[in-house]
Every structure is written in structure tokens, then in C-alpha cells.
Symmetry: C2
Subunit: 484 residues, 2 copies
């Protein structure tokens, strides 16, 4: 019961005839075959993940368009790779040879915002921040906030079960998906889930689709649960620590104190230095970059005195753990200023070269040890690895500078990458906290899941997509992968 | 790709030899075949759901015991019905002819409480309240609180994705299950999920198992996420309303105001009258039962002034919606006193006859309309139907008095039951908010899910349990059911 992921070129009818036949099914401009469009839609934002250009890109404007494309492909044994905004970091949207990429980017309508039921229905291509802004007009809040929120789509967020900064208190995308409209591998359309606050009728197929990276179905509409926008007051607490260990101790102490912050982010010395070297404004007056090894940035969002108390407690814990300076803010502008280093870290790192964004998650208590092992890998293999982390979740993003034009350096980076995954697993972690398995984490996933659980994945894939039409080779280890 | 649910008696070897062979695999007292044990372990707490006695009950004391029982059964084409505490309300644990019931009740060890990671690992048979009490010693809180929390087990809670009173703010069992140990239909053992705060490696098989009612695997251990016990302060607000519509308006207004209470329960006049007739202490001094049609009981649990503000807002909304009297409490004894009618409602109703506990969930805004339709069904079919509801979730529990010794009355009750399900679906609801499909909701689930989604269930069942060994005929509509 294995799924074929063959990407052999279909030769009958000829590729040209095939593309012509596909194009005739859609309105002008909806099925693109020009090389630039194929190139820009052949991969996501993951470094290192293999891809090949598709034979065509279909820009779906409706669920019906997706049905048409999937039926066309299924009838001819062609693979379909669904694509949201292409901002993934694991290669999950990467095209395989001779496939059709179905882009959901034009399905960008917010279909409904229901204030009383606190839900919204959005087409898959709606950008995360767009949805958040729209529901805010009705006094509602969509919490999941991946770093890509300005550019990533709700459909992609659901397909990868995206996380974000607020997860430590508010959970991940899956916790906000009530229902889905999905085009299955046989081109049938199903509505999964419910519009009610609760519901346990049948298997949790909504949850199964969320995070399945388009391998079990193509999500075209998402019904999301919302929270009230009111009732939160953000306060920021930032601590400057002399060592990773001190910062890690502070993270553990916050958890142990029974505080659930709305964010608890860590930024290491490499990131701080990169930001300082670039813009020189990541640190406030009076803080000597040379004395700062690690930053912790916390937010709490309870209203009133409860929020003050939580912020006080966190500030006291930061100080007790060796925070050399602890700052607080309640005004939005000040909160944003304190989080500036966090926002600048990634672009600052990218100035140093292509960044492979790792995404491991370890038990909270193992954050200092994991960071120490990452530093050791960087040192022993002569690789630049910076760290930003959703520390409150144990979700670390080692940022590996992965030079393209220096094969020796790239090889050293690859070895460090594998070492990080092995160390994560040794510490009881998971190889993907929020980015998904895609292509990059297939070997790590094989180790983590083990053969029997991998076999369960294969069985479910075979049950829902027996011909292996949808996004072959992604999300779980199966047959050998296409490599460029 | 359908799953056999045949329950034909296995004739080779003879039933007696079979039971002897099974018994020899276990220690004394672990495999019971006496009639009283078979009888007490042949059904759950659902009225009306069919069952037949099993050929044996295996009291598993370890995951290995479950493996032994499942392997024995799978090798011989015998069905296995897993059973937690037997407190289900949909017939999900009901025995079928010639099956082996595997009871998890002796697997009652709490294996681990990890304060720093805020998680616990419990064997499936641990009682919900026992787990809650144990983790409280470490300053931690397990939120899911089904009404059966004193008698239901964590394994059963996970298998049915149990809800409870606090769901309106804190979610359901699925939101707290990080990982599972599961015995699959081929007697292999898998560990699903993770111990980290986040994790998206592979399909969400943990979520697929949760709520699958033992049809895809037998849960033997559950790893649960916990919250800090500290930081909450409970306040109760109770309102006495002259009509269901007024109470329903208050529920909608609370939601619209952006308040997320920690509980929002509704009790109708039939329940109030039953409690008054029984104990006469459900209502405070000065409230005339004849003037009270509906009670709303709210809890808020924010700390400090934020909690006061929320309670003030709810009290004001209750008054504005026509609450004839609104009471508040902050002391635990007073909070408990205000919730007394809620706790007494079910036993008070049971004094009137066997109670079929319905479990529909409608959009919040449809609560008054649904309650009105339930009252109309009760009136037109001359059936006593009381209502308790997790109103903040739209999750209603019509309590249908279902006489066993009056066939005409039972038939009228059955018609009312079906009408309620049809009305729930017509109003955009789901046939099970938290109890599960079991046997009782199979027809409703068929209507709600539709043939293609039912077929997805069958495909997944066939992929994971091709011989149909585990809990045949439950959780989703498949082949015709065994009827007693």
C-alpha cells in the first residue's frame, strides 16, 4: 500500500497537446505556461529544497477551477502541486517534474465575517494579515501570527498548520480552523468540520487536512474561529542576558511560575550583532552590545492589574536569572520598539548570505542545552548559525547561513543542519515545530516517526489519494524523492 | 473499500475452546467470562443503544495486555470493543455479538507529571477528576471537565473527544492531548504526537485518533498538556429569566460584547421544576419558581479588576435582556451554591424516568430558536423534554424522558429525538457537540456528513483496520448495524 511518486513525463498525448488541452479549460490568463511564471511558481522560500518547473501553472479563481485542474490531471496521471503564497520554508510547495502547479493566490475573497458566531470564511488565498485586519473591523481577532503574516495565505497556513509568536498562549492555526472546503484527489469537493463552537461528528478530518501540506486534498476555503479583539492589553518586558544559559533559565522560570505570556522570544548574540552591524538601533541607549549575549522579549496581554502583575513577575524573574537590564513598555509604540530587534533579525541575517531557517521544537527545559549544542555545531563546522526562538514554546529557529557559491561551506552547513536535527531528537524534540516537513525534513521525520507511523501515513495517503496525484513526496517519508 | 462489521459467531475453534485459549493468555482474574461481568461490561450509559454480551472481558493492566488481546482477536477474526469507564452516552462502548471487550479500567496509573513542561502522562483508565487532582498538587490544571469527570476516564475522554462546561473558554479534550500510545488493529503499538509545546511533523494522527471512538486504535496512554493552576479567580453570575427567548438574547449579547466566559450554562423551566419538586433548594430566597422560566449561569475567571469588569458586564447584559434577578458570587462556596441547580438537574430528571441525553450543537445565535423547536417537539409528541445547555457554545442537551415500559410513549420520544436532530441540522448545527456518534447518532451523522465524507471515513477505517477488528459499527455510518 505505497503511493507512487513517479514523475516520469507523460508522453501520450504529447506535452504540447497536453498543455493546450489544459489551457482550453480555463479563461485567458488563468493557465500560464511561460517560463518566467513557471520559474516563479516552482518553489517556495526554502533554501536547498529540490524542485523542477511544472508544465503549467493554473491560477484558480474558484473551487470549481481547482476541481477542473485536478480532474484534468487525475484523468491523465499527472501530479498536482498546490501552492498558496509560496512563503513556505520546507519546500512543501515545490514543483516536481511534469506536474501542474495549482496556485490559490487569486482566491483572495473573504466570504463572510459572522460577529455573533465569531467566525470568518475565507478563500485559501487570503493573506493572513488581510484576514486579521478585516475581522478587526468587526471587533474580532484572528490570533495565529506566523512571521510571514504579511505575505502568507490562510490556505497555506492551514495546509502547514502554521504557528507564530502568540502560539505560546493562543495555540496554532489548527486551533482556529473550524472547517474546510477541500478538493480531493478524485476531484470531488467536500466540506469538512462545522460552523458551531464544538462538534465531534465523525473523525476529525479537518484536523487531518490541516498540516497535511496538500497531500490529501487542496484546501480552497477555510472557516476560522475568532476571538474578541477587546479585553487584551499588551505589555512588553525585555531582558538583556549575559549568556544563553541565563536566558534559558529565565524561560524555564517563567513557565515554572505559572505565567503564560502572550509571547516569549529569544534572540542570540549572532542576531544581535547582525542587527547592530546593519542598523545599529536594535539596542537602547546605555546597553553595550558587547555585554549582551542574549535577549528575551516577553509580552503579556491580560487586562488591568493582572497584566501589571504578570509583567512585574516576568521582570523580576528576568532580573533574578541575571538579566543585566530589564525594560518594560505598555504603549504600543514602545512595545513595538522593544520588539524591533526581533523583527530586524531575519533581514539582518539575510545580508550575510542565503539563510536556511531551521525549525526544531524541544521541551522548554531543553532550550539552553539545545542552543548550546547548536553553538557547538556552528563552531566545530565553521558555520554561521544565528538563533531566534519562540523560547516559550521551545520552538527554535537556528538560522544557518548557507552559501550557494562555496560548495565546501555549503557542505559544512549541511552537516551542521543534520547535527541539529539529531540533537533535537536526542533531547526529546520534534523536527518541525511549525514550518512542516515539506522536503527538507523528510529524513528527520523518518527518524522521529519510525517505520510503523510512517506506514500509517502511507496507508492514509493511499486511502485518500490512491493514484498519488496530490503533492507527491511531501509531508512524510515515502518513495524516493525527485532531486534536481 | 468497505469495512466488514459482521458479527457472525466464530465456530472454529468452538466458542468454549476460544474462551479457554484467551483466558490462558492472561493472569487470573484478567479475562472474565462470567455472566454478571459480561452484562455489566456490555454497554455504556446511553439509553436505547443496541448491545449484545461479549464472549469475554479482558481487564488490561498494561499496553502489552491490550496487544495480546487484539492479536488474539485479529488472528481469529473476532471483533474487539474497547471500553474506558463505560460512562459514554452514545453507545460507543457497547458490545457486539461474539466480541471481546477490552476494558482499560485497571490501567489507572498516572505515569508522569512534568511541572516544567506542563504535561502529564496517564494510563487510559485514569479517572478525569483523579488526574485533575494529581496535577493540582504540582500547581497545574487539566481543564477538560465533562459532567462525568468523577467517573469517566482519560482514555475514554480522548476516544470521544469529551467536552464539558469550561469548553466555551478552554476548548475540548483534543486541545489538551499532546500524544497517545495506541494499539492498532494489527496489534502493533505506536506512539503518536509529541511532548513539546508545538509539533507538525507528519499528519495529525493524534487528532485523528482523538474522537475516533476506538475504531482506529485502542488508546492506552495519553500525554496531556496542562495549564498553570494559578492566575484564575472564579466569579459566578446567575440570571433568572422570564423566557427562553430572553435568556437566548442574553447569551448572544454576551458573545457580541466580546466576553469569553469560563462557563455559560442554561437550565430551562422543566429542569428547574424537577429540581424544585425534588429538593426545593435550587432557587434562592425570594425567587418564585413560577416566575422563573430559564436560568443562565455564567462564570468568569480573569484575575482582579478584569474579572470584576467581566462579571459586571455579564450582570448588566443579563439585566438588560430581562433577567428578573441577577446574583453574583466570588467565594467558592457561593459560586458552588449558585451552580447547584445545574448539578441537580440531571439526577432530578432521572427521577422521572430513563433519560436519553441528547447532544446537539447549533450556532450560538440559534440557541433560542432551537430551544423553541425542542419545546414544540415535546408538546406535539407529548414527551417530557428538559434542557440543560452549554449555551455559550450552542451545545444543547435536551433530556428526553424515555420510558422503557410504555412502548407508545417510547415511540413518541423516538419521533421527538429524530425531530430534534433534523431541526439541529436545519439550523446549521452538528448532531454531536461532545458525546460522539457512537450508535445513537449514526443516522444523523450520515445526513450531516453526506456520502462522500462518509466514504472518506470508510477509506481511513479500511486503511488502518482492514479486517474491521476494532469497535465495528461505531463512530461513522458504515454497513448495517447489529441490533438487539
Amino acid at each position: 500500500m505505497t503511493t507512487s511518486v513517479s514523475t516520469e513525463r507523460s508522453t501520450d498525448p504529447s506535452a504540447t497537446d497536453l498543455v493546450s488541452a489544459l489551457t482550453r479549460l480555463f479563461a485567458a490568463g488563468q493557465a500560464a505556461t511561460d517560463a518566467p511564471t513557471l520559474a516563479t511558481h516552482s518553489h517556495d522560500d526554502a533554501e536547498w529544497a529540490a524542485y523542477e518547473p511544472p508544465i503549467a501553472v493554473v491560477f484558480a479563481e474558484s473551487t470549481g477551477d481547482v476541481v477542473t485542474a485536478v480532474r484534468f490531471a487525475a484523468d491523465r496521471g499527472i501530479r498536482v502541486v498546490p501552492r498558496g503564497a509560496g512563503t513556505g520554508l520546507s519546500g512543501g510547495a515545490n514543483s516536481v517534474a511534469n506536474c501542474i502547479v495549482v496556485s490559490l493566490e487569486r482566491m483572495s475573497a473573504i466570504l463572510e465575517v459572522d460577529t455573533d458566531e465569531r467566525l470568518a470564511v475565507a478563500q485559501a488565498g487570503v493573506i493572513n494579515d488581510t484576514l486579521r485586519a478585516e475581522v478587526a473591523k468587526s471587533g474580532l481577532w484572528y490570533p495565529p501570527d506566523p512571521a510571514s503574516s504579511a505575505i502568507s495565505s490562510i490556505g497555506g497556513n492551514a495546509a502547514t498548520n502554521a504557528g507564530g509568536i502568540c502560539c505560546v498562549k493562543y495555540g496554532v492555526t489548527r486551533d482556529y480552523v473550524l472547517g474546510l472546503t477541500v478538493v480531493l484527489a478524485d476531484a470531488s469537493v467536500v466540506r469538512l468540520g462545522h460552523r458551531t463552537a464544538k462538534g465531534v461528528t465523525g473523525y476529525d478530518l479537518t484536523g487531518l487536512m490541516v498540516g497535511s501540506e496538500g497531500t490529501l486534498g487542496i484546501i480552497t476555503e477555510v472557516t476560522v474561529r475568532l476571538l474578541p479583539l477587546a479585553g487584551r492589553e499588551e505589555r512588553a518586558v525585555i531582558g538583556y542576558f549575559p549568556s544563553l544559559v541565563a536566558a534559558g533559565d529565565a524561560v524555564a522560570a517563567v513557565s515554572r511560575a505559572g505565567i503564560v505570556p502572550a509571547a516569549l522570544e529569544l534572540i542570540d548574540s549572532t542576531c544581535i550583532a547582525a542587527v547592530e552591524a546593519w542598523q545599529g538601533l536594535g539596542l537602547p541607549d546605555g546597553v553595550d552590545p558587547a555585554q549582551v549575549n542574549t535577549l528575551l522579549l516577553a509580552k503579556v496581554d491580560e487586562r488591568g492589574e493582572a497584566g501589571d502583575e504578570s509583567a512585574d513577575e516576568i521582570a523580576a524573574i528576568f532580573a533574578a536569572a541575571g538579566g543585566s537590564r530589564v525594560e518594560r513598555a505598555t504603549e504600543k509604540a514602545d512595545v513595538d520598539r522593544l520588539f524591533l530587534t526581533r523583527r530586524l533579525a531575519y533581514p539582518a541575517l539575510e545580508r550575510l548570505g542565503p539563510v536556511l531557517t531551521e525549525d526544531i521544537c524541544v521541551p522548554r527545559g531543553q532550550v539552553p542545552e539545545m542552543l548550546a549544542r547548536i553553538q557547538a555545531s556552528a563552531a566545530s563546522h565553521d558555520v554561521v548559525i544565528a538563533n531566534i526562538a519562540h523560547a516559550g514554546d521551545g520552538n527554535l529557529h537556528p538560522l544557518i547561513i548557507a552559501p550557494e557559491d562555496d560548495p565546501a561551506a555549503k557542505e559544512r552547513a549541511r552537516i551542521a543542519f543534520e547535527e541539529i536535527i539529531a540533537n533535537c531528537l536526542a533531547l526529546g524534540g520534534t523536527v518541525s515545530g511549525e514550518h512542516g516537513v515539506g522536503l527538507l525534513k523528510l529524513p528527520g521525520a523518518a527518524t522521529e516517526l519510525g517505520p510503523r507511523v510512517v506506514d500509517l501515513h502511507r496507508s492514509i495517503k493511499a486511502a485518500l489519494d490512491p493514484a498519488g496525484t496530490l503533492n507527491p513526496g511531501k509531508a512524510f517519508p515515502a518513495a524516493p524523492l525527485t532531486r534536481t
